[in-house]
Symmetry: D2
């Protein structure tokens, strides 16, 4: 049994030092330190392929660059359509805004502002989205699966966002529920106006399962659970489970959803190895992930 050591906060302290001090603590701080150590280990383990799953409105909150940093360490990226839509919106030149003081949703609606907790977005962003899809439709319409479509969008859009990074570096990006997003609405808009595109709903499964199947070791990084976590988890069954795992979520386990389930539950399913190194961090990911990432840079 290791003695708890009271954390000492010093002037001009580096994040690395702060997290190192946290390694002597219990509760959440100790888990941040453990996550830092596991992340470092999985990133430097050359046999390990990293599966990154990101749910929640991370891009609107300002986590885009952190996600890109993590993607650059990963073999596979799975996220929600919402995150990708917000990424594309920023790549096309629009922004998200911090809501400084409470304004009623009725008033926001009148001003054409969409709210995501304390972040706002102009409803007019959809205009540039529409133009982008209209302008590039000929190049997009030949795609036949979700990953191909997302890479193509990344190729065609300006800037250096998430889609662009995945496209440039050919990092597989999966998004099983892409229909459930602004990008989905753009596709629907073309279909509704008589245009044609045919994207297979199941095709991408082959690739993610193949990657899991052929890797020697696997690591997972989950922000927020949801479909991204579950899609990775089900693939890991074919890899005999993950060796490393970090999960950052504020959801509860009692209601039984995947987002709140502790990583250890995955051992019963064979999605996590019994002797793997895991940690569940109960924390807002916008706080925990930059802290953890900065500690290993």
């Amino acid at each position: 049994m290791k003695e708890v050591k009271s954390i000492k906060v010093k002037e001009e302290m580096k994040v690395k030092e702060l997290v190192s001090e946290m390694s002597g603590m219990g509760f959440g701080a100790g888990k941040i330190a453990k996550a830092s150590s596991i992340l470092k280990e999985m990133v430097t383990d050359k046999e390990c392929k990293i599966f990154l799953g990101v749910a929640g409105a991370m891009v609107p909150a300002g986590m885009k660059q952190v996600i890109i940093d993590l993607i650059n360490k990963s073999e596979v990226f799975v996220t929600t359509g919402a995150n990708l839509t917000h990424d594309l919106i920023e790549s096309l030149g629009d922004h998200h805004y911090i809501m400084d003081k409470p304004v009623s949703d009725e008033e926001l609606n009148k001003q054409g502002l969409d709210r995501i907790y304390n972040v706002l977005m102009k409803n007019s962003v959809y205009e540039k989205l529409e133009q982008f899809f209209e302008r590039n439709w000929e190049k997009l319409k030949t795609c036949t699966n979700i990953k191909e479509l997302l890479w193509k969008i990344g190729e065609l859009c300006p800037g250096n966002g998430i889609l662009k990074t995945c496209s440039d570096k050919q990092i597989p990006i999966f998004c099983p529920a892409l229909a459930d997003s602004g990008i989905g609405l753009m596709i629907w808009g073309r279909l509704a106006s008589g245009k044609q595109i045919s994207i297979d709903a199941f095709f991408d499964m082959k690739e993610i399962i193949d990657i899991a199947w052929t890797s020697k070791k696997n690591g997972v990084i989950y922000i927020g659970g949801g479909t991204p976590k579950n899609f990775i988890q089900q693939s890991l069954q074919f890899a005999k489970g993950a060796n490393y795992g970090i999960q950052i979520t504020t959801d509860r386990q009692e209601p039984g959803g995947s987002s709140g389930a502790p990583l250890v539950e995955g051992i019963s399913w064979g999605k996590m190895k019994n002797d793997g190194k895991f940690v569940d961090v109960f924390c807002d990911a916008t706080i925990a992930m930059p802290l953890i990432l900065a500690s290993i840079k």
Copy 2:
């Protein structure tokens, strides 16, 4: 301002009476009563089409019949692939089990038991799933969209579960992330063995948006948020927003995800009407939903 009335619990009390007493209370109890009253109103409003969105492992917890009761009052049902897989598993004759005492996930894995919080499932259920898809492949492989595939599965499976109910009554059932589920794995298994099926990832959007577009009034019932909630919400933008809404979730709003976002946030997006009747119930849905439903039966 209405005076708080202290709830009085009586012998042999009916659920209806209990929830009626709760209408005089603050905090969660008052919200249960408000949800009961809104549900009653949307169910009896003949102009209102109800969109039911269910996330979380509701079938394994024993909520199947409650969901079917709600489906029977709804125009559209959206859920996760997990719920549908668990429904199919039960229809094929397998069961879920309550974990009475703590057993390590390592031990559960050895015994071939998969854990979902305090519910267990034999890993062997996948055998009957495999057989079902193998046996019925010729009939399934001609489907071209997710709703059609799900209705077909419902038609072919025995019992009287969720898929069967939707199929029998031709209630549209949408599941944008179906690839992310045991059913998805069954499809992948056929594809991996060289069989052919081509399911469009975006096709269903047309139907759900059309339903929203053409309805006079809309009501939403959300259990747990996730993709089901978001997929309905984005369609409601085309209906000028919902008139009625009940959301039951234990997720927090601070991390910015859709599952924890209060319904009122939807007003800013035009997904909820400014003068609509909404309530967010912060409660485990396995407690809240049966209570609310029993109160209006």
Copy 3:
């Protein structure tokens, strides 16, 4: 392993029947049923003394009568000064109110309304409190410990609230942090104006520990944790732990506070018996407690 049985909700169902159906479920519903069964057992076990601990603003929410029902089954009642102050306020003829629609706290302050989540109280209630303490000071000032003071307040106040019930039935009522409440402020007001009273901060410990020490079996009912739970828990160490326990809380265990700690943690301390019957219900107590209580009436 017991099969999960899908709950069936029927017309005109009794609460008893609903909770009985919940006993076949996983997640929160199963825990409600378990709590019902444990409560029934501890109430009918003649050797068992029940310690009831109530934190949180339960009286303002409308839980007064439910608490009185539970007190009538209990040997000891521990609560916060806030609950007792709100009880006294109601006994003196004032009320709490449900906030129907959002009003800013600035506006509420101007209107002289104090907010407790969605419940309001007129700030003017303090006038009657002041008068009560002024009028009865001669009778109160001779009290020397907290229980005696609370019983005396109960004796002197009108109505049939919590304090009155405890006083009438001579049920020991403990409130270690009474200074931290409106009643505390009333005592402070007299002291500040030169009046005298001398209440011992530790005296009551003897009585609660003696009750725990001399009982054959103990049961605990905790709503919300806090000081009431902890004060009972520390006394139970002298009773070799509780045999029965129900805890209803929405707090998390990760930050390490007593309010979120599962009952099973008490086994390590010897506050809970290893073979005791316990359940932690993750639910708003205003929903869970009336439901559980109605199921055993």
Copy 4:
């Protein structure tokens, strides 16, 4: 409206820089940055008196030195008896331990280990506590109020913990529910063996209210809510409300308890100034508080 800026995590980054980057973000990260800025302002505002309230098992988690750092910036410190008992235990030479892997509470009980989430303490610590109180009883027994008793304990105990710091620097330390703690049990033990001490339960109220009453400006720092928060809040009514406020809690507001109530609710009561600067940080305090503190050092 301020644009969200994507956080950039750099090599060898200082905590100060990380939190500065967070100021451009939404959700929790933005609140950490806001808390940092408010803390800096209240610490440097010479007219401001800081009231620090700490609940939860912060000392066992390794937060002792962070709390001492904050006490050194504060005018008043209010905490739970548990935190003070754990502080005294460490001052007397015992330790807390990190639980590396899951062990059943039954097994821990056999090994004489008490569990606080993932932190352990030897049950034998009570021996040194007993000896301390036995040895120093003649000096302690003359105390007549809680603050005096706590300062005296601090004076008599070795080391440089929380109690010692408050005693040395004569920083008022209040603990309304001291009876509810290991220190309380030590007092009870003496009383039970026939020794005498008479500590007034309400005396300290005068001092904290006087401090609030006479200050020009007030700032509050709340970790975890509970009695410490409420005891400060009720005193602030007499100061016309706080000008600055930081609250770190993971409790929910829906169940109506003080620990989960947002600071803004205090405006209705007159405990917070309408034009004050406040922030609620939803985060495990062992993560958030060191991060915030390091950012202003």
